[in-house]
Amino acid sequence: MTASTETKERNYPAPSVNLETEAYWAAANEGKLLMKKCNGCGKTHFFPRAICPHCQSNDTAWYEASGKGVIYSYSVMRRGDTPYAIAYVTVDEGITMMTNIVDCDYDALAVGQAVEVTFRQSDGDQAIPVFRPV
């Protein structure tokens, strides 16, 4: 795990996509990270839902996120054939999301590190958002 750039990555299982989230995944295939905001209370929530978990309004709308954030926490799985870094990233829009950190030295990751969104192909044709150090 001393390589500055990991060339070998694990296979990413394809996400399950449903009626509430298909716009998120369609945008991911175009290289965009979407967030869901409630027009009732104005708050962003994650994961995106049809019903706002803050105020229960059904008037929720998509918008494109900046793609910038910082690592809230992470853990590098050392067991198994291919190490990988799971993480929570707090994005500029104010929510914290589970993700992977890629294109990085696993031994140099840190809580608070600045990261930006990038995308990986999962099994199948679906792109998924991941993050890399800025």
Binding site: P13, S16, T44, S73, Y74, S75, V76, M77, S122
Partner: protein
Amino acid sequence: MSRTSKAYIAGIYEHPTRKAVDQTIPQLHAESAIGALADAGLTMADVDGYFCAGDAPGLGGISMAEYMGLDLKYTDSTETGGSSYVIHVGHAVNAIAMGKCSVALITLAGRPRAEGVATLGARDYGSVLPELGFEAPYGPVVTNQYGMAAMRHMHQYGTTSEQLAWIKVAASHHAQHNELALLQKVVTVEDVVNSPMISDPLHRLDCCVITDGGGALVIVSPEIAKTLGDRCVKILGHGEHIKHLNAGQVDITYTGAVRSGPIAFEEANLTPGDMDYVSIYDSFTITVLETLEDLGFCEKGEGGKFVSDGNLISGVGKLPFNTDGGGLCNNHPTNRGGITKVIEAARQLRGEAHPKVQVPDCTLALAHGTGGSIATRMGSSTVIMGRNDA
């Protein structure tokens, strides 16, 4: 002093197996049930309430009721992972207090070792889970989720791997006296921090064991407890809570114990300082550390200092915990350790723990269960218990 109790723990049983190659899961449930009923001085015919969780085969308790030949007036199959059975204790008290049943049986059993079930693979609870698409692609398994919790706790409060290691060290000191414990060797802080890294910052010895087996509890009304003698243990308070990711406002430095604990203490009219012994769910060392803070045994963020220097070792420290060796060394049957937490607390209150770890004059005890993941969603439950004359 005699505290009021709406129901009593009359029977306990921890299945002795740790690898069940010759038994089926229903058989393990039934053997555990028979053991707990015999311990109480009751039989299957006395049971009128049955409580089980997702480890029981079939729809709720339907199949196991048939298998064990139960004649029921009440059933509850609340499923919150490893904390289910601690929640069941509280629900059984409620049911008994409402007159819905008078002898409640709770069972747990499973055989992941015999079936060769790995814990590394991503869990599949069904594609309809709302959060699934936003987590499963990223490989969240048990160890790396708890690793993230530990990593954040270290960042926020300065907790160290050595401090976490003390939790395992204390468990191992207790397990050396338990001839059924899977791991009976006493380990040092150095042993823990030098064991292989599994998922940063958790080492192999920060993780609990994987075992087959099971356990059962029998909860009875005060009227029936009177006929069964002074081995019955009072249930004085219960609290439960589901904590989740709160719409993206994530904080994984605390657990659902922040809610379940105060509810249980208030019902019992007791405080953390009153506890002579605690059973704390110990899937990982970090689980114990966060839970002790959240239950109020020390200030938030001070857990590392609190658990250090043997403070959790019976006869050495101020707060003896998990004197059976816990999930870290003794038993974590079918990856669900809640029931063994209640069982060891009851042993302590009966004075039936191993003499080397028995807390002198143990009068008041706490058992806490955690189910799911402390880094995503969890069910938490706290039960306060008292000796028969407490």
